[in-house]
Each structure stands twice: as structure tokens, then as C-alpha cells.
């Protein structure tokens, strides 16, 4: 069984003020074992 998560999140904006922009990034790698509750990205 498999779970596929699809979601919108902020991306970098070339013209945006960098001090206020918050860009989503994953904190996992392929083949990582993850457990429920652990962060996938921030």
C-alpha cells in the first residue's frame, strides 16, 4: 500500500523581498524510512 500526498506550498519568488519570503523545502531523501509525525518538509 502507498500514500501519495499532493499539496501547495510557497515557492521562491525572484522579485520578492527575501527577508519576508518563506519557501517550502523537503527535509527527506529518497529511500528514507519515515515515521508518522516526523517532518517531511518545512
Amino acid at each position: 500500500s502507498t500514500v501519495v500526498l499532493v499539496f501547495q506550498a510557497p515557492i521562491s519568488q525572484p522579485s520578492a523581498d527575501k527577508s519576508t519570503s518563506a519557501e517550502f523545502s523537503f527535509c527527506i531523501k529518497k529511500r528514507d524510512r519515515v515515521r508518522m509525525g516526523e517532518a517531511l518538509g518545512r
Binding site: 500500500s1 506550498a9 529518497k30 524510512r33 518538509g41
Partner: protein, 348 residues
């Protein structure tokens, strides 16, 4: 004497031949496994359909799945339960120390399979800006979907589109592009006109109404594919605080979902039976697809206990379109908090 001598000579000969043959098969298997491992490490695991994959399409996998479910639902005698569950845990690397109840209290393997865990064994990341894993498992793919008709790679050489996974009517990539376009003064009006009939498209297509702040960051569409092996904890939790606006149920095939299957079976994720939940979180659209497999064919939704999956398939040649359910109140749906339990994969 001569006949006994003949037998003595014949038996070792046959035995040796069998051992050599098994040895060669084993060596071949080890060689193939090593090749796959090397390819995986290099990130070039390629799609290679084979005869076995073709043969799988001929098998009545849904019936096999339901039979497996019936078999594993048989109540086991109390004295036998610990041995069976310990055997299962040994075979599939489950951690029995995390199990919430004493093993004797799980009446069947099916019940043990969807076991809850002890309180505190899965702490939820407290960062309010993070998205947590909804399940225990192995990360197969993740990334950002950048183009219209966004595709998720099954393995190198074969991909499937997000819209075919979530539903043909979704038009998700187009909405995401328009969502971003709207930041620059795009065609918001025309999108609203065409999307009024869809409960979730409306939620995506009006970013200016939801958040008129000019400094609002642009939004991208991301995905993450997590595979659950048979020994894993099989309950699904909410990855963030979100409003689940609706659900689609695709009654499809039930191919296995292991690594070999992803390499050899075309359209695995979009042909298998699955339940898709769609809604909104603080950053916009969110959807989660729970894809079934032969051994784990049915998906139970705690937010909709009446949903039944893996039922006998009546129209083999013309599978029905996905069955949709809009959650009330319309536009708000069901509010789930990060870490809330929302579904489970059941055996069979």
C-alpha cells in the same frame, strides 16, 4: 547388486543436478538483486515490463484480496495468537514493543495488522510550519510539480499524471498555474466562471479573495510518495491542520505495490483501487491518495465510516467513474488537526 549400484549412482547424480540448478537460480537472483541495488543507488531504476507483470493482469486479484481478508479475519485461539503475531513481526520487521495492547487481545491477524501504537511512540513534530508524514513507510519519490499536466515519476522511464491519480475532473495543474498567474493579474474571472460547479476548484481558483495581501508568496505544487511495507504501522494520520472538503473513491485493480511491481507494472498508481481526500490547508490545496494493494485491499476512513472499498467488481470491462462525496458543511468540510487519525489500510 547391480541394481542397487545403479541406484546409488543415479540418486547422487539427480541430487547434484538439482543442487546445481538451484544454485544457478539463486546466483542469478543475487545478480539481479545486485543490479537493481546498483541502479537504485545511481538513481536509474528503470521501468521494465516483463511476462510476470502481464500475467498479473490475468489474475483475479480483487477476489484473491478479499479471500485473503476473510482468511486473516478468522479468530485465532488465545494460545496461538502471540506465536502468529511474533512470526509476522519477525518476517516483516515489525516492532512489537510499540504495540498498544497485549498480543492476546488481537483476535485475528487482520485486527493485529491495523493495531494502534502505544501513546507517545509517534511524537508529532511541533513546528507549526512543517508538514508531517501521515504514515510509517519508505519515501519513494518527492519533489515539485512544475508543469501543466504535472507528472509523478513511478520509476525512470514511466510517469503518471497527478490529475489521473486524483481524478479526471480535477484539472489541478491548470488551476495551480492560474493560481500563480493571478498574482500577476491573470485571468481569474474566466477561471471562476468555468469552475463554479466544482466544490474544490472554487477553493483553489480565488486566491485574491482568500488572501489579498500583495506580499503573499507564490505557490508551487509538491508531492511525496510513501510506500508502506507489510510490517509497517498501517494507520493514516493528518499531515497538517486542514479542511477535508471531499473524497473520491476509485474502484480499480489491486496489483501488488512492492518495488518490483513499480518497476514492471504500468500505471500501477492510477489503476489500483484508491481513496482520494481533497481539501485546503494554510498554504492552499492539499490531497492525499491512499492506494490499495493485493494484500491490503481495503481502505477504511474514520471520517466516513460508511465507505466500503474492495467490493466485488461488477463491470470488469467498464469500471465505473470515481464515486465522489462532498463533506458538509460545504466549503468547510471536516476539520482535521495535524496528527489526527483519519484512515487505515485493512488486510483484504
Amino acid at each position: 547388486n547391480s541394481s542397487s549400484q545403479g541406484n546409488t549412482l543415479l540418486l547422487p547424480g539427480a541430487t547434484v543436478a538439482t543442487i546445481v540448478m538451484l544454485g544457478l537460480l539463486h546466483a542469478r537472483r543475487l545478480y539481479d538483486d545486485q543490479k537493481i541495488e546498483d541502479a537504485r543507488e545511481k538513481g536509474i531504476l528503470e521501468f521494465q515490463p516483463d511476462v510476470k507483470a502481464t500475467f498479473m493482469r490475468l489474475l483475479p486479484l480483487r477476489s484473491i484480496s478479499r479471500f485473503w481478508g476473510t482468511l486473516t479475519n478468522v479468530e485465532l485461539p488465545m494460545w496461538l495468537r502471540p506465536s502468529v503475531y511474533k512470526g509476522w513481526a519477525r518476517a516483516f520487521h515489525s516492532n512489537l514493543e510499540e504495540v498498544a495492547l497485549p498480543l492476546e487481545e488481537y483476535a485475528s491477524l487482520r485486527e493485529f495488522f491495523v493495531r494502534r501504537l502505544k501513546e507517545g511512540t509517534r511524537p508529532i513534530d511541533p513546528d507549526p510550519c512543517c508538514l508531517i508524514s501521515p504514515v510509517d513507510g519508505t519515501v519513494l519519490q518527492f519533489g515539485e510539480l512544475k508543469e501543466v499536466g504535472a507528472m509523478i515519476e513511478q520509476v525512470k522511464g514511466f510517469s503518471y499524471s497527478v490529475s489521473s491519480l486524483l481524478g479526471a475532473s480535477s484539472l489541478l495543474p491548470m488551476n495551480v498555474v492560474d493560481d500563480n498567474t493571478n498574482q500577476d493579474g491573470g485571468q481569474e474571472g474566466s477561471m471562476d466562471d468555468t469552475n463554479q460547479k466544482s466544490w474544490w476548484r472554487v477553493s483553489l481558483a480565488s486566491p485574491k479573495v482568500r488572501d489579498p495581501a500583495p506580499a503573499r508568496p507564490m505557490k508551487g505544487l509538491f508531492y511525496c510518495v510513501i510506500y508502506l511495507s507489510p510490517g509497517d504501522y498501517h494507520r493514516i494520520h493528518s499531515p497538517a491542520d486542514w479542511n477535508v472538503l471531499g473524497r473520491r473513491h476509485f474502484s480499480g485493480r489491486l496489483f501488488p505495490m512492492n518495488e518490483r511491481a513499480t518497476r514492471t507494472i504500468r500505471n500501477l498508481y492510477v489503476e489500483n483501487e484508491r481513496v482520494v481526500l481533497e481539501g485546503k490547508w494554510q498554504e492552499g490545496f492539499m490531497a492525499m491518495a491512499a492506494v490499495g494493494a493485493t494484500n491490503i485491499g481495503s481502505i477504511e476512513l474514520f471520517i466516513e465510516p460508511t465507505l466500503r472499498t474492495n467490493r466485488p467488481w461488477k463491470k470488469l470491462l467498464h469500471p465505473e467513474p470515481p464515486e465522489e462525496q462532498v463533506y458538509e458543511p460545504r466549503g468547510t468540510g471536516v476539520l482535521l488537526k495535524k496528527g489526527d487519525e483519519l484512515a487505515a489500510f485493512n488486510m483484504g
